[in-house]
């Protein structure tokens, strides 16, 4: 479990689900219908074409998580559920962030992006669009640093994750 500055516990859950229409609706319906929250949800194919992987970030204490996990397992189309935050895991998130950039501070922003391993994907007269890929904390730290420059827009992929072992 990771605890962020805002003091909220977050769990990262991955679920292997049948690659069938309606499965996503089932998962989302369950989560919202039972009053849980999800902060991000990511769906993608796996090596097995009949199975997709869902990765979701769920705020809440261990008790909430226990219920979310058990309820997910109960869905017939859900094959396996893992709470990655119970074990060693890797996580990545990708963001695109558009920052207001004047002639004076442009180079400072570019330099900071470089320190974070980011890429400048678009240069405009008054703004820069930067891509950052990395651990969630890393991405979050970069966002913090950009705040004083004025963030015009941001698009986050949501976290994806994988157990280390």
């Amino acid at each position: 479990m990771s605890k962020h500055e805002d003091g909220i516990h977050r769990h990262i859950i991955t679920a292997l689900v049948e690659n069938q229409p309606g499965v996503l609706a089932r998962v989302i319906g369950l989560i919202s219908g039972r009053g849980y929250n999800i902060e991000s949800l990511n769906v993608g194919p796996t090596q097995d074409p009949t199975i997709s992987r869902l990765t979701m970030q769920v705020p809440g204490d261990d008790r909430v998580l226990e219920q979310v996990t058990k309820q997910l397992v109960k869905l017939i189309d859900v094959v396996k559920v893992t709470d990655l935050t119970q074990e060693a895991f890797l996580n990545r998130e990708c963001i695109l962030v558009k920052v207001a950039a004047s002639r004076e501070n442009r180079s400072e922003i570019i330099e900071l992006a470089g320190v974070f391993g980011g890429t400048i994907v678009s240069v405009q007269a008054e703004a820069l669009v930067i891509q950052i890929v990395g651990e969630q904390d890393h991405v979050g730290d970069f966002m913090e640093l950009m705040k004083p420059f004025r963030i015009l827009d941001v698009s986050r992929s949501g976290v994806i994750a994988m157990a280390k072992e």
């Binding site: 229409p21 369950l30 219908g33 058990k70 309820q71 017939i76």
Partner: protein, 572 residues
């Protein structure tokens, strides 16, 4: 080559279906064309909610899955309440719905509704069939899923064109899903831990729920109790899982539970829940529930464990094999002091009402039903005061005898469920105990009982009120009776109708007769037993309307949010 419609009918027959409930429409014409030649009985209902409740009542009474067929759009939406009712109580049933042709889906076609979308949250699982080849497999799966694990309703939505398409496909099983492996045997170390806790407990109580009935584990429970002498409280849906006539039966716990059950839970040092899910109507204030007890929880549904009450000893699995494994590990322990304590509650404060009043009380009628049928009948109820009084004053001695909507609390359930139960159990007496409010929600289904010569007895307890709501308004809303008066007099100013008609409408006796049933009206205590005997020996459905005292309350009552020890016994 078979059509999708033929595959569907064949798959139902293969699943062992003997009775199907339903009502046709445009998108199921092909299904009904094949149904015409089906090897099982079909019961034409008058409203699809009735079909779903009949399938549900059939399943509760027999233990076999119920089955219904409805058309798309309004047919399916009418069935939704029935699906939700079955889903809450874990009742096995399969509902087949028609859907508009595949290429029309999403076009707001005539009688199109997103049935799988609408029913997703009220079914255990559902399917939209996209390929005719899948029908045999999907229906086999639907029957497997609905009965296994924690049972529940499964809906299969079949577009019209898929019913018409032809296929060579067959399915010979097994109907397995990689994401679905219910666990039946309990973990041996958990069972051992439970046995140890039982042997060490000085003040144990068993809380028996519907899981005992679903698992056919009543004999195992009785054996456990005989050996250990642990008192048993039975939840609303667990009634019949342990005989109410047994000296160790504490009866129902919770909001309208017995003093013995609620006190025993509050004082026990070990609470063993067997297939009960700690509904909020059972626990009262969660933080004060069984405060001194180690809590053991046997349940087939892992998500039921530690959902509201943290389990110290969780045992996931089916009650039957778990109790079988537990029995040899437990020892008879001398707990005289505890049992004496419990017996005192039982004898000093049993469920009670004013037996001496000359007025006709609903509780009296219900007690008479129990006495006349000697616990042998299947009793179905609607929802309200009469339902709670049935739990209090009917003694259930065997499983699958009490048919009632517990989790969803669906008014209008009783009559169709009784019809379903009678169709499943032709040799048993079936009585529906209903309120004058609830019965009006599905009265039309009485015709079905008449058409099929089902000798059900419908006892309408007419108190002229939506009684349970009236009780809450009396107790918690300053006796301002808002929209609960069913008779025409004594209503709130903004509910009064002109011209004032003091008579009660409808006339239930005439209504019964108009449907082809026998109707009777009782107003006197001394008429009740005879009328019941006459009705029970009739070969036709009988409706007995009892004009009962209007303002009785169900006691004891644990106010919402209070702890089980804060029982109200009478308003002062």
């Amino acid at each position: 080559m078979r059509t999708g419609a033929q595959c569907t009918i064949d798959a139902l027959a293969d699943a062992g279906v003997k009775t199907v409930f339903g009502l046709p429409g445009g998108t199921v014409l092909d299904l009904f064309a094949r149904l015409y030649h089906a090897p099982f009985e079909f019961i034409l209902v008058r409203h699809e909610q009735g079909a779903a409740h009949m399938a549900d009542g059939y399943a509760r009474a027999t233990g076999r899955p119920g089955c219904c067929i409805v058309t798309s759009g309004p047919g399916a939406t009418n069935a939704v309440t029935g699906l939700a009712t079955a889903n809450m109580d874990g009742i096995p049933m399969v509902c087949i719905s028609g859907q508009v042709a595949s290429h029309m889906i999403g076009n707001d076609a005539f009688q199109e509704a997103d049935t799988v979308g609408i029913t997703r949250a009220v079914t255990k699982h559902n399917y939209l069939v996209k390929n005719v080849d899948d029908i045999p497999r999907i229906i086999a799966e639907a029957f497997e899923i609905c009965q296994s694990g924690r049972p529940g309703p499964v809906l299969v939505d079949i577009p019209k064109d898929i019913q018409q398409k032809k296929t060579e496909a067959t399915f010979s099983g097994p109907a397995e899903r990689r994401g679905y492996k219910p666990r039946y045997e309990g973990a041996p170390e958990q069972i051992a831990a439970l046995a140890k806790a039982i042997n060490a407990a000085r003040k144990p109580v068993i809380l028996a729920g519907a899981g005992v009935i679903h698992a056919n584990a009543a004999p195992e429970l009785l054996a456990l109790v005989e050996k250990t002498q642990i008192p048993v409280t039975t939840t609303l849906l667990g009634l019949g899982g342990f005989p109410d006539t047994h000296p160790l039966a504490l009866r129902m716990p919770g909001m309208h539970g017995s003093v013995a059950a609620n006190n025993a839970i509050s004082e026990c040092d070990l609470l063993v829940s067997i297939g009960a899910r700690f509904d909020d109507r059972v626990t009262g204030k969660v933080s004060h529930f069984a405060p001194h007890a180690i809590k053991a929880h046997i349940d087939i549904d892992p998500s039921a464990i530690s959902k509201s009450i943290r389990a110290d000893i969780p045992v996931v699995g089916h009650a039957k094999p778990i109790l079988q494994a537990l029995l040899p590990l437990v020892e008879p322990v001398d707990r005289k002091a505890w049992l004496a304590h419990v017996a005192e509650w039982q004898t000093k404060q049993p469920f009670d009402y004013d037996r001496n009043t000359p007025e006709l009380l609903a509780q009296y009628v219900i007690e008479q039903v129990s006495e006349v049928t000697r616990g042998e009948a299947i009793i179905a109820t609607d929802v309200g005061q009469h339902q709670m009084w049935t739990a209090q004053f009917c003694k259930f001695v065997r499983p699958r005898s009490f048919v009632s909507s517990g989790g969803l609390g669906t008014m209008g359930f009783g009559l169709p469920a009784a019809i379903g139960a009678q169709l499943g159990c032709r040799d048993r007496k079936v009585v529906a105990i209903v309120g004058d409010g609830s019965i009006q929600m599905n009265f039309q289904e009485l015709v079905v009982a008449v058409e099929h010569d089902l000798p059900i007895v419908v006892v309408i307890l007419n108190n002229g009120y939506l009684g349970m709501v009236r009780q809450w308004q009396e107790m918690f809303y300053k006796s301002e009776y808002s929209a609960v008066r069913l008779a025409q007099d004594g209503r709130a100013a903004n509910e009064r109708m002109a011209p004032k008609r003091p008579e009660y409408r409808p006339d239930f006796v005439k209504l019964a007769e108009a449907h082809g049933a026998i109707g009777m009206r009782l107003t006197q205590k001394q008429e009740v037993a005879t009328a019941l005997r006459t009705a029970l020996s009739s070969k036709k459905p009988v409706v007995i309307e009892c004009i009962v005292k209007p303002d009785e309350n169900v006691y004891p009552m644990v106010p919402p949010g209070a702890s089980l020890t804060e029982m109200i016994h009478k308003l002062v």
